[in-house]
Structures are given as C-alpha cells and as structure tokens.
C-alpha cells in the first residue's frame, strides 16, 4: 500500500475501521432496549402480552430480511468483479426486500394498535415498540443508503474499483440483519414459549 489518504497506522482503511467500531457500539444501543424488554415482558398492565404476536407472519418477515443479506452480499460480490449492472440489480433487490420487511412491520404495528397494544398501554408495549421501532428505523436508513448507492452508481460517481462503498453499506445491512436474528429469537419466539 502506498501513502493512501484513507489508510490508518494499522494499515487498514479508516472508513471500514470506523464502520466496524460503529457497529460494535451499536450492540450497546440495542442491548439497552432488549434488556428493558426482557425486564418488562410480563408487565402488561392488564393489556395484551406476547400472545398478541403473529409468529407465522413475523417468520415470513424475518425470512425476507435474512434473504436480503444474501442479495446484499451478491451485490458486493458483483461490484468486486467490476460488474456494476449486476451490482445495481442486487442492490435494488436488497432495498426491495427491506421495504417489504418495513411494510410488514407497519402492518404488524397497526394490527397490534387496533388490538389494544397502544404505545403507552404498558411497559411491555413501550419496550416492544421502542426496540422493534428503532430496528425499523435502522432498516429505513439502510434502504436510503442502498438507494443512494444505486443513484451514485447510475451517475458514474461510484466506479468499478470502488467496491469498498458497497462493502461498507453491506456491513451496515448485515448488522441490521443479525440484530433482527437476535430480536426474532429473544423478543418473539422465546417469550412466546416461556410466557405464552
């Protein structure tokens, strides 16, 4: 490596190093909300509890998000090979699956609200909405990043040899996916078995 403006004294690209540091710190952010949820999972104030969850529906959403990680890594793979057309196709597929997941979350929240699980109903309701809502915000930000990458690639501002840009957005997207892997098990499935 020559005197690269992006390199650190570790010999690594500082943007990627910063992304990994950010992702590591995000565990503390989500950990707080998961801990609050676990603390209040049975504190329903007479309102709906975990029995309100529609596990088959959420399973499909989870599957869609998991498969979006596949299309994301295929986008990065295509970019590494210099195939920008295929990269853009996989980026669109990833953003589309993210949008399907978000749509599912909006539908789920609306259904829960109509069934009496209002945000201020109980500590259970608040902790559930805050945790899953913040995850949804992360997915939304991911979709914006993906669409920005798509647009920049179309206008020639992302070039064939700049696959690090796709990789960085991919890291963020995969992180959002692994957080959902945890949420799906800890928030939905385990309480459904333990409490429901």
């Amino acid at each position: 490596m020559t005197a690269d403006a992006q390199a650190t004294t570790l010999g690594l690209d500082h943007r990627k190093l910063a992304m990994w540091t950010f992702l590591g710190s995000e565990f503390l952010f989500f950990g707080a909300f998961v801990a609050a949820y676990l603390l209040y999972v049975t504190t329903t104030a007479g309102g709906p509890g975990v029995e309100i969850f529609d596990i088959p529906f959420t399973s499909i959403s989870s599957f869609v998000l998991l498969m979006s990680s596949l299309t994301m890594v295929l986008a990065h793979n295509a970019h590494r090979q210099g195939d920008l057309r295929r990269m853009r196709m996989w980026i669109l597929a990833t953003a589309g699956q993210g949008a399907v997941f978000l749509g599912g979350q909006v539908f789920e929240f609306t259904t829960f609200y109509n069934e009496g699980l209002v945000f201020t109903q109980s500590p259970f309701a608040s902790s559930f909405y805050v945790l899953t809502g913040f995850h949804g915000v992360h997915v939304f930000v991911g979709i914006l990043l993906l669409m920005s990458l798509y647009a920049l690639s179309l206008t020639g501002k992302v070039k064939r040899d700049q696959d690090l840009k796709t990789e960085m957005i991919g890291l963020y997207w995969h992180f959002v996916d692994i957080i959902w892997v945890v949420i799906f098990a800890v928030v939905y499935l385990i309480p459904e078995i333990a409490v429901g």
Partner: protein
C-alpha cells in the same frame, strides 16, 4: 492509489467465497430459521429455549463470518464487533440481575 480507490488495501481478494457459496450459506440459514419457527408449531419440551438460543448464535456467527467476511478479514474487525457485543451482554446481564433482585417497578 487514489483516496477513493482502496479496495485492495487489505488484500483479501483470494479468500472470498463465490456466489454459489453465498447461496449455499443462505440455504443453511433458511433451514435454521425453519427449525426456529418449528418450535412454535411443535412441542420441543424443555429443550425448546436452549435450542432457540443455540440456533440464534449459529445464525449470528454465520452472517458475521461469511456475509460480513469476518472469517476472511483482519482479526481487528472481529475484535471490534465482539468486544462491543461482550460489553453489551455483560453490562445488561448485570443490570437485569440487579433489577430482578431489587424488584423492577411494575404496573
């Protein structure tokens, strides 16, 4: 190398899985998810919750190792990710223990 052309700064080109490898990994992840969901439909008894935790960890590590390339990248990235995770697990486990013993406010 220009400021924006840095994809070879860490030279891990030779170790990346192929597209077919990624599809195979995704298939395994899909199967593990199906097994997770099956705990809702079938009674797994006392092993259900430990099984879900194990499946969650396997899926987590697979995505991090293969899709995020932690398996092929420098160890520093792995340390950054898992240090953050370890901090969070220790901090919030202790917090939960304290809250449980101190009795959290309830409604």
């Amino acid at each position: 190398m220009s400021a924006t052309q840095s994809h070879d700064t860490e030279s891990h080109e030779d170790h990346h899985p192929t597209a077919r490898d990624y599809v195979n990994i995704a298939l395994v992840l899909a199967l593990l998810t199906a097994l997770e969901v099956s705990t809702y439909f079938f009674d797994f008894g006392p092993i259900a919750i430990p099984l879900l935790i194990v499946l969650m960890i396997i899926k987590f590590v697979m995505v991090a190792n293969f899709f995020m390339h932690l398996k092929f990248d420098t160890k520093i990235y792995k340390q950054l990710l898992y240090t953050g995770l370890a901090f969070a697990v220790v901090l919030y486990t202790l917090t939960l223990i304290i809250f449980v013993f101190e009795r959290a406010p309830s409604v």
